[in-house]
Point group: C2
Chain length 224, copies 2
């Protein structure tokens, strides 16, 4: 039997190296590629066509979610294992809808990683126990045709504004950054919080934290 071929993606080289060290000791697992950002991950995965692509969701540049969506469209045979610190439901669902076959938390036990890999390699689906509880109950049928079911389907503008708000920018500052009117910013914000059921700025910040918009000091400076 040929080994399970895996690519790893995490924006922290140290964490990446750690996971690699963890996995490469295992007999029938082979690390065939690594990346520390979304674009590179896409490239590496396309070049190596691994059995499983493990990727952190919070990536600089192209986000993990974006990577997942593109892979689902371009290389559906590659199975995705999402690996992240975020256990918020709002984040799990989109990831699974984007085609992820597994969702593991960084706070998970180390041996869960191998377990998840084997489960997915065997064609299964593996969710961390902690999130499995949350993810399953509210589940839905299976409509991946038109695109977006319920929550979290913000328009790009809405999402952008919400992120900037979470980062502490005022409507005026956002208006300047995006070169639009304050009024427009207010509209996006209003529509976004309406869709997501958020009320206070603190809600928005929490949402942003869950989505990985914050907590990555070094990165940022993306949209222009």
């Amino acid at each position: 039997m040929c080994p399970i071929r895996i690519t790893l993606t995490d924006d922290h080289p140290l964490v990446l190296a750690g996971m690699k060290a963890l996995l490469q000791d295992v007999e029938d697992i082979e690390i065939v590629g690594e990346a520390t950002d979304g674009q590179t991950a896409l490239d590496v995965i396309q070049q190596t066509t691994p059995d499983i692509a493990i990727l952190d969701i919070s990536l600089p540049g192209v986000s993990g979610l974006e990577v997942a969506r593109r892979l689902a469209a371009q290389m559906p045979q590659v199975r995705l294992l999402a690996l992240t610190v975020h256990e918020d439901h709002a984040y799990v669902q989109p990831m699974l809808q984007a085609g992820a076959r597994g969702y593991l938390l960084k706070r998970s036990a180390a041996d869960e990683l191998e377990r998840a890999v084997r489960a997915i390699a065997g064609g299964g689906l593996y969710l961390d126990p902690a999130i499995a509880e949350k993810a399953l109950p509210s589940s839905h049928g299976a409509h991946s045709s038109s695109g977006t079911p319920a929550t979290s389907e913000l328009t790009p503008r809405e999402s952008e504004v919400l992120r900037l708000i979470a980062q502490g920018f005022s409507n005026k500052e956002i208006a300047n950054q995006l070169s639009i009117s304050i009024k427009t910013v207010e509209t996006y914000k209003a529509r976004a919080v309406e869709k997501l059921g958020l009320f206070t700025r603190a809600d928005i910040v929490r949402y942003g934290v869950a989505l990985g918009w914050l907590g990555h000091p070094a990165k940022s400076a993306d949209q222009a």
Copy 2:
């Protein structure tokens, strides 16, 4: 020669296991303890008295900074290597003042970890190149006598208010939470931003992120 004895602390078991895997392959390095929270870290370190304690700064419960300060007071012979995602200057300085002998970023290359360990074990001080630049220029002479030179000497109240602001709460919400007048909250905020040289809310959020006030979705719920 006896090996370098090390304890590891990181709140993500997976990351912890990864670093362990990275380090334990090295000849003269021995992992003598692990922890995933600040209190446990303190216990483990006190029990094992390692040569070097590697600890992530953003920890649930007792923060890494707090751990560093207590260790500096109780076990100065244990050398600390701070390991974190935060490369903000505002975070490096307090950590070094708290006695850390090294500061490494998770975005650092993997071999830097071993390098840092050896440097510190040899009695040296190791800063990640990326932060060394920032840390050194603005530096200071060597006044560790009275305590706090310039920044970050917020009163408890100021710090508390600033944290809540970073989390997105309005002055009014904070006033309610702390059972004080809005006006008082405004005063603390004003004094805090004055001391820290912050200007916009976004500045405050960034400061909070650097201090680990945000970015830990699952955790929180501390002060009452």
